[in-house]
Symmetry: C2
Subunit: 288 residues, 2 copies
């Protein structure tokens, strides 16, 4: 019952033409409620966190464990989301809610769906990934006020046009901000894709004409046998990419990894922040 409501709403959301709309808001609402209801049927079990200052737990269904959930960021009620939704409608997020509260609310919406799918389906990575993309595009589209494109023309080689398929491109209009927004649940070894696509766009349209603003959920990895949570991070590689491949403006996380949070202060500066920050700083981001 809960499963079918959850997946039905998810499928309807995928069919929406617009990423941000009243209909999308209502469907995200339904999905969040169904996810919470699904999870409440199962036990929470504590995990051993190897991540400094972070506590993780998982939901358990028989032998199956959900992905790790950050205890301090998770609220299993729709109350905070109702508040955020109201402030979004009134366009009052800037002064009435902190970046931290926004991150927490969006984290709860995203992770509850992912964890519910972990328990309801077997090894399904696609459904959580697709939902997370849509959810991030929903919030981004609301904040910047335009709908995204999912591909961009990058080259005319002789008479042949080559289009780059990318997660999302938000173009606010001539002489205005343009964002290149890749979205992934986590990077694993694929982080280089962000810098490589950014470099293509830089080459074709000029340095940072499209500002690279990637969004990720988390970098946690669960050792199911030991029930241990670690964060898989490669700060050294990322700094090399930022130095030699291209420059990303921001990398936003909902569960910000410890090893990336300090890259902001070192050379080359790489601003890895909580996604909630975007809601207040988006209008001040400038190329270079």
């Amino acid at each position: 019952m809960a499963k079918s409501t959850l997946l039905k709403s998810y499928e309807q959301l995928n069919k929406q033409e617009k990423y941000y709309s009243e209909a999308s808001t209502a469907l995200i609402d339904e999905i969040f409620e169904s996810s919470i209801m699904t999870l409440r049927k199962f036990d929470r079990i504590p995990l051993t966190s190897k991540v400094p200052k972070k506590t993780y737990f998982a939901y358990k269904r028989g032998k199956k464990l959900s992905r790790p959930i950050n205890q301090d960021l998770f609220e299993d009620s729709a109350q905070a989301w109702e508040n955020l939704r109201r402030l979004m409608t009134l366009n009052r997020t800037e002064n009435n809610i902190t970046a931290g509260e926004i991150s927490k609310t969006i984290y709860s919406i995203a992770i509850s769906f992912c964890a519910a799918i972990d328990l309801l389906k077997d090894g399904d990575q696609k459904t959580p990934g697709t939902y997370f993309e849509r959810l991030m595009a929903y919030f981004f589209a609301w904040r910047v006020g335009v709908e995204p494109k999912t591909q961009i023309q990058v080259s005319d080689i002789d008479d042949e046009r080559i289009k780059l398929k990318t997660d999302f491109i938000f173009d606010l209009g001539p002489h205005k901000r343009k964002f290149h927004m890749p979205v992934k649940i986590s990077t694993r070894e694929r982080g280089i894709m962000f810098w490589a696509d950014q470099r293509l766009l830089d080459g074709v349209y000029g340095m940072e004409r499209y500002m690279g603003t990637a969004i990720l959920l988390t970098e946690t990895k669960l050792d199911v046998r030991k029930r241990e949570v670690v964060e898989i991070c490669v700060p050294g590689r990322w700094r090399l990419y930022q130095l030699y491949v291209s420059k990303l403006k921001r990398i936003y996380y909902l569960d910000l990894p410890v090893a990336y949070a300090k890259l902001w202060q070192e050379f080359p500066p790489l601003a890895v922040k909580s996604f909630g920050e975007f809601f207040t700083e988006w209008d001040e981001l400038t190329p270079i």
Copy 2:
């Protein structure tokens, strides 16, 4: 019995300090013989090839299928390898053997081991990958006459040195050729790594001071249920990388994919060739 000989020789090869040596030659010889002996115990079954002008088959053990093997490139005897080995010892490969024959022989050595592991183990991708790296480094090291390094220092950021882990770097000495040689069984979605690492090296050491010469086995993919073979290729993306990220000098395959073979003739030129070609052209490759 065959399994233990095969894996024992493989483990011994991994322990060799030098990639090219008489001991390595003897071990590769043993591994090839054991692989063939293993495969001969099982039936060959034909596959439906969706690749123009290529015929594939697989070995079958119970319900298990090996990866696809290109029929025209495969010889299940060590005769051609004995000939190549003799010519290598005499340093007479340039005039006494064609690039096509070299490719065929090395393909047979590589694919027979991979197929044997497919049948002897369950879902083991690491062993074939590790062997393939070692095998390619063996031939490359013989041809260029130096041993490779597996990491290179790419940056001094303040007082911190960052090293790039890469498959192989062959440095023939001051003012001589230097090769950046990544090795993979196939690229899947990871091809961008080649161009990204190349760009790092270009940034640190100057454009193409290390010439990018990647080596791959194949891009075939088997649909086990339908028993169909396809080649997964992304020529459009590769051309974009070659235009905007960095310039690879060569991409060598042992089973050259149809969709990549023509990229040589188009703009931007991307020379994707059979690995056998390297044996004759390596000394003529020049940066830019």
